[in-house]
Symmetry: C2
Subunit: 209 residues, 2 copies
Amino acid sequence: MPNKSCIIRLSMYRNALMRLKALNFVKVFSDNLADAARVTAVQVRKDFSLFNISGKRRGGYLVDELISQISTILGKDKVQKFIVIGIGNIGRALLHYPGFKKNEIELVAGFDIDTSKHNMDAKVPILPLEELSDFVKENGIRFGIIAVPDFAAQEALEVMLRSGIRGILNFAPICLKEPPECVVHNLNLETELENIIYFTNYATEAGNK
Amino acid sequence: MPNKSCIIRLSMYRNALMRLKALNFVKVFSDNLADAARVTAVQVRKDFSLFNISGKRRGGYLVDELISQISTILGKDKVQKFIVIGIGNIGRALLHYPGFKKNEIELVAGFDIDTSKHNMDAKVPILPLEELSDFVKENGIRFGIIAVPDFAAQEALEVMLRSGIRGILNFAPICLKEPPECVVHNLNLETELENIIYFTNYATEAGNK
DNA sequence: AAACTATTGTGAATATAATCACAATATAAC
DNA sequence: GTTATATTGTGATTATATTCACAATAGTTT
């Protein structure tokens, strides 16, 4: 089974391939993708072999075919719909983020307890939390994003799970308790910055020695 | 040398410890922190041993002491200043994100090429890109965030590096070329969602078998 | 068409990270 | 004060991920 890093790399290969396609490239070598994704060529080929993606010895890979194969693995053969709970800073930015549509990801609705944020007529409607369950069931939504404050995050998770959502990205700075049948990834902005601070300090110190 | 995951876990332990402190906890066991960070107790102790953090056999760890030790490792003994390049959706959300101040992280200025976004009188000023270098040097900034579109990201990185910034979080969906003396972490929102889609689909399929 | 070369694909080796097993020991119980 | 017990701390082991080494082979050159 592939690990998280491997899937992240697939996304990066796909990004690079889309750029190459835009430049009318027809074929590509593991070495090219390695450069684009800042990994080794063997890593690229090992990743591909895990998914039975093969090229031609000495001939490389066909760009179109490779995009198609990776897209299927990443679920990009159809639009994937997400909802967002919590329309604060982060929630609002996500709803308007232009990068998703290009990649077959659609944020179809936001939910918040604050009535002043509700707007059912907007292109992407902001709805009361009570309507989440019906909305999710009616539209067959499987994915959600939690962008509420830490104290509200566990409850937000449970509402989502009860409605049938199975994959969740959590921006709240707290570790959530999830049942085994769902996938929750945590993305903590403070933690990301703390990481950069640590490794920059470490690198600087090491460099001075 | 600790790896990235280890430092992420330290941040999570610290988060949990702050909550325990708010509840007037005086001591804590590796087992408690393990629950909070969703890892094993041995992992917690191994992480601590890497930094020579020790507790008392059968007595656990003192909350205050532990917070202080982890804070020092993560550079939280002083405020760490960041700037942001690119005041679009993401950049703006970050500038107003309330979670940073609590954690000794301060976003001190934003920069953009679009003059309509400039505002030097705001609490956190938005300045022209040309002023970045002077601002960074005068204020001794070491950290930055890239929140520009992909085509502008490499140039943004180089501007930052020339000004003396050494640690960077990159939100642009592209892999940047960086010299060895700096630290660049990529955080790609599309990629994060693709990851969730993949593992949710995988888990669902596996569950159905 | 034969020889050469660049590239893939993968088993084996290595490196890295997590877990196990248990000794050391501080605290609690009696 | 002695015994029992809960907890830490860590060397040894196992698991996981990456890199190495090289055989296979498609394309290129002569």
